[in-house]
Symmetry: D2
Subunit: 475 residues, 4 copies
């Protein structure tokens, strides 16, 4: 399904590297591979041991950087971020990494996730005199580090600060003499450690390793703080491990098919979900299976393979649609100008179509696609969804905004089917999904976060916990 059309958006992707003369170049390529996690801003901070160099901007990685600028960065270590920004958090000042300068040394921080006790911590810090320049949770960490009592070592100050945070957070932190990497106690957002030559690298997804020829070493563990400096890599803990709760939507929708999360390849997991869905659905009379590009292709292939119904390209996504696309006039829109997705008439005309999608959020896109397929001649459209119904908001960095926007909240599957005008509608069962993804079943929920499907959150949620898109303090 199309992210732009439905409002599920990942907050960002992070990357870090220590120990290569081409650190900034590597970071550029790494961010490029992570571009699907955020298209609205990008930044790199590098160091050669003497000060921090920073380049940030709004837009795609390729818009923000150029050969000349990368040469300016230089350095043997760097961190970077790509960012999706909610309406309220736009503006160049919110692009990460954030840099905090001080006479005793500077600090750059980038994060993927969402801190659920940020409002409380922020208020606490402001009472002590902190002032904030961004709407970002990332700034909270910097203030906490700075305020830790001065007799502690920097390492201990960072650990103490991290231990005060609740929620989902994958941090990369750069100082002139070290790269620090931290994963929240539940390990909610993916974060992998790798190596390229002698340099250590870290990234939100392993596809950022592949692009630079790095090898994946392992995932960063929940509650772990990794410190890389001239003495090598040191692993410490800032919190005991809680129940592992990796975001299910990473497997279902966000991550690139060529990434692995904790050893499981995304494409394969999705294909297995499609197969499982075909098994759960049992007999279905249909002529063709088609997936909603791009994220549902793997599940559709699996569904086809298991069901024996041929897989076809029933829907095509334009490769050239960008943010600057000219909107059609109202009359053209009514006439059916199709901007991003078009049906392949000969594939669907006169056919009973199984339309595989990864998930349903507001349902408006599903409804539109069902209509599109029927207008193209499909006699029946069977919508099959390779994940369970989304019923609860996410507080961990995914912009599924509020329950009221989720079509499945408070509705039966039949009611949803009717709203989207499908002939039948089937969701994958939670158990089927866990089974198909294939994480170790010794852990609770196989170590996955199911909050958006069940409303059970792996961390505390506070009265004043705000969703990412609602963050805009002081406005």
């Amino acid at each position: 399904m199309l992210a732009e059309l439905r409002g599920i958006n990942e907050e960002c992707g992070v990357f870090g590297i220590w120990g290569s003369e081409e650190a900034s170049q590597y970071t550029y390529y790494g961010l490029h591979a992570l571009q699907h996690r955020g298209q609205e801003g990008a930044g790199i901070v590098s160091t050669n041991g003497n000060g921090l160099q920073v380049i940030k901007g709004e837009g795609l990685v390729n818009d923000v950087f150029s050969n000349l600028k990368l040469d300016d960065l230089g350095g043997h270590a760097a961190i970077g971020q790509v960012r999706y920004s909610t309406e309220s958090g736009r503006g160049i000042e919110n692009v990460q990494p954030l840099v905090f300068r001080s006479t005793t040394g500077s600090l750059a921080v980038a994060m993927n996730g969402n801190i659920v006790n940020a409002a409380e911590l922020r208020e606490h810090l402001e009472r002590q005199g902190s002032i904030f320049q961004t709407a970002s949770d990332t700034e909270v960490l910097a203030h906490l580090i700075k305020r830790s009592s001065g007799s502690l070592t920097q390492r201990d100050r960072v650990k103490k600060a991290l231990s005060m945070l609740k929620g989902a957070f994958a941090f990369v932190i750069l100082t002139e003499d070290s790269l620090m990497i931290a994963q929240d106690p539940n390990g909610i957002r993916p974060l992998s450690l790798g190596k390229v030559g002698d340099a250590w690298v870290v990234a939100s997804e392993t596809c950022a390793f592949d692009i630079i020829g790095a090898e994946c070493v392992r995932s960063v563990e929940p509650g772990e703080l990794l410190i890389v400096n001239r003495d090598g890599l040191h692993a410490e803990r800032f919190a005991p491990t809680a129940d592992s709760a990796m975001c299910s939507m990473e497997y279902v929708y966000f991550a690139r098919p060529d990434s692995d999360i904790e050893g499981i390849n995304i494409h394969m997991a999705r294909k297995r979900c499609g197969k499982q869905l075909a098994r759960e659905i049992g007999d279905i009379e249909a002529d063709v299976v088609t997936g909603v590009p791009d994220s549902s292709i793997s599940a559709a292939i699996g569904f086809s393979e298991e069901s024996g119904i041929p897989y076809e390209l029933g829907l095509i996504k334009s490769r050239y649609v960008g943010r600057t696309f000219i909107q059609p006039s109202q009359s053209l829109r009514e006439q059916g100008v199709k901007m991003k997705l078009s049906p392949v008439h000969q594939v669907v005309n006169g056919k009973r179509v199984v339309m595989v999608d990864d998930s349903i959020v507001r349902g408006t896109t599903s409804k539109r696609i069902v209509k599109m397929l029927k207008e193209a001649g499909a006699t029946e459209v069977h919508v099959v969804i390779a994940s369970p119904p989304l019923v609860s908001p996410c507080f961990y960095g995914v912009d599924i905004s509020t329950d009221s926007e989720l079509i499945a909240t408070g509705r039966t599957v039949e009611e949803v089917r009717e709203l989207i005008n499908a002939d039948t509608l089937t969701f994958l069962s939670p158990e089927g999904m866990l089974d198909a993804i294939g994480r170790p079943d010794t852990m609770k929920n196989c170590g996955q976060c199911l909050a958006c499907f069940t409303g059970e959150y792996p961390t505390e949620i506070y009265a004043d916990t705000v969703l990412p898109h609602e963050k805009e303090i002081g406005k």
Copy 2:
């Protein structure tokens, strides 16, 4: 396979419309759907019956136009082109439509194809005093029309001019009082006629109809001149029909999967080619089938379906690679920074992989992908090509530059296999391809041009016929 990597490039796509108050808007969306046929320049010329309005520029459709500019264009009729430009023909002056202004009325022309007797005609025209401002064949037509003896009607002057051209050409011509559409006598490049509301539309591919909600009426026939004006649509002939010879590479590689050419859907034709290939290859021991994105996906799905070997996403193409991508430094390149295509390790590691591609040109990309797959752990890579070997240059508007660049020219399949380091290499037979595509077998070669596979050209070729990329007169 990736167009950018191998040097097959279509020259352009054309679009025209008559009779809608939103003519320029429609043309914009039409060109957007044809963007894959040319990314280096775009132009629209419109008329409201009083003068011609023109906007052209280098780059993508979205770079060239904006809402404001489209509003400037206005008009009830328009033509447009997207353009791939060879090295020698770059520069804004070569972006089409070309506009020729005269005290007796102006003329705008855009073309897809290549005139094989252009050099001869140009020399002839220059002897009569014509001077040329572009390297484009399109300019030849304008001069021929202008020079036809003055007593003829404009219609007859256009027909006489068209009758002097040899080669492949799909023209759209706009004057203040008519839209003219012409297809060469062999019908080498696709050109379809459609309708949206009361307006007539024409486009290189039917996907341009789908985006604006137009219906396809029929293909423009070989040797046909269509004239649309206030009196409606008039069909005439400027030449008797020769043997139909539609470009095979349109089915194999160029056209969008959701387009139909002469009633045959491209995705379905490619899928059938993949199935046919599986039948021809017979028993093959392999674990996974993967296609080289994007153009080989359909054939790979067909191959998988017929062979029973599971289809997987073994290769991922970056959606964010643009022309401004920063090139990696030499050391990074050696380290294996992958710009556009990356293997999915878990899919191919330890597997015998069938890699389906649509065609092989220079072979460098195939070699690189085979290497990539093996480095990712593939134990065997079987390359199967869903078309016959390319051995001869194209003189009809496809930039397959010279025979010396074609790896299959003068080499056995085994020799090619060795060069690309595949374990096995299989091409689809010419008969198999024709059969799978499924055009009427009552016509010679099923009405397809096979010149690049066989060296037999459907039109005369002259001693001084130049390939598109060699065109640059007066330099």
Copy 3:
């Protein structure tokens, strides 16, 4: 006075060079110095003896070119143009130099001026089969050259073509083996020949020589064709000399103060005009003299020096106003937001101000400035104009559009004074102007064109002669 505000605009400036390895670089700097003559388009065509290289674009010289592009151009010879384009002649296709490619050799042409028999010649050429792609007179010359009977040498063909043109034209023409330079028989637009090292250069104004360290050798003579090639410089004539008729407005308004035209420095000529004006006006009771920046400063200084009234900066022009300036809302405009020009209150408050301007066109700007000065406290505003009243349109390349726009046409000086609300208004007499500029009085009108002041044109004017801004054939 401000060009943007009043609609006098020069059509362009040209530059050419032969014989330097840095020809393109020199042309770039030369065009930069000529930028005031045209800000809407710029182009350079170069040659290294093998083909013509071209870069053109809309906007300022600095917007069109970049280091990389200049390196692409290379060559040992080049021509260039900066261009002001009238409403109808906009569009990249009209940016010069125009390039005409042919199998027998290519030709690039750039021009400053206006051909008064262009419509007639164009019609004649079209009847012979020529087709035009631009609205530019420059294209007429190229067709005439091409159509001259074939037995002539190129040099004779060019001379024959030039001899058919009537009007004002300064041409630079580049082929692979020569640079040709031509001046119309009346020498209406300035064109100077210079040398830098061993290379010959030509430019509309000598300030283009100063910027590159070239020396001015002489003016190109009326009716002269200069040919520079590997054999050196050859001077020929394509027409007998007519009465010399250099554009008066070049001295009055267009040329840069540091340029010399036929040996007379512009600043000095203007200052003398200011002095002469002071002499003609005789006793005037005033406290301060101020000039309307930038073009009237020299005259104002002269007026002050002769009259003994102190010169002050009573008006300031913003250096940062560009074409992208945000227009103030209507309410702000009424409140008096001043975009480009602002009065210096302390200089004019309570003072009797002599406001020196170079000329009055529509009078709207004069009226606005008088109002501005009075609002700033001036007790009297005496407008003195350092040239005679403009009463007739220009057919020689200056965009003084039609007589109806000229406030002085058909009005007495007193009537004009009343319209602009000045306390007094004085124009320089024609004799005073000629005397102050100081060209040889042995020639008729001292060899100046006075057409815009008197309506007497130095060349024939045809019934169908069109003003530059009305040119837009075939629309």
Copy 4:
């Protein structure tokens, strides 16, 4: 003299407005008028009483803002800044106004000047846990305000914070419910209060009032804090008045000629300096007086008027030189390609030239201009400087970097003359300058800061006081 060539640069200009529905528009025009004070960044923060809206960017005002963006800003109050940034302080994060968001209300601050005890205050604040995101002194104020003990009213917190600052500072501060304006106790940088309709405005220079039709009410007094809110304007003091010490270089070089500083018009002051210089120099044998554009024109006119030597445009400055100008190759540079300034040969050839400049910093530009004039034929070049020799660095916001760069430091006038190759060199005496500018002689040094001429600073200077260009904490 040319700012770009010599390294004197003002840090910025500020603007603020309260009480107009067009507050953002007015701020845009105000910044436009202040553009000469900083060309490297611009920002506006506005409020409609509910949150702060911010737009900032690098480049000129016209590059940063557009109609659409201004419409986004809206608001009935706004502050803005244009900024010159030293090498170390570049980057979008340093563009002002800085915005500090807090749960109890947000704060935006912009400043012109330099805090001499910033390093000390910063260290103090960091010890208390503050962290800094910019290299700007402006951030110090925000932290001081925030940290003032909580029982104080906001007004008292601001006053207490301001009272801790030493140095030169003109602040504009915006919250959701007030606009605050503060001037340092010595009043070193200009800051004027005005009114447009019912709205209060404040600006670094009065030219920003003229552009929007505002009237100047008075200067903001040293040590004064003005608070504008729904109850109107309230004037308070945060410090007793110290000796007034307005920056002399504002009169000499920075301010626009049409601005008034404390009632004295800049053009008139400079002209009087020129006259005074002529009186001090006594008899001088010369033929022409010329000024180095743009800032020395007024003084040159005064010198001419007093000395009776005619004023001429001997030097022309290109209006089209921008930051993107292509640098000439070394060979062209040696050949004398003149980028920004060119001599008018006929004006200076064979003449004894008085070249008036406002000041000499490093002397390199003076030397270059003297050489240029002599090459253009000047027989003598007498350099007269309309201010005393610069011998000491500025700590108050002017980037006169270190004494070692000042040619006059430790050298006699004769030694400087020799270095710049002038025939004679004369500086204006300090007394002459004070007298000519004409501020009240009842104050010490007529209430001017003479530190750069004398080394006597009006405020304390600390061991760790850094020059603006050296600020880059934490690097």
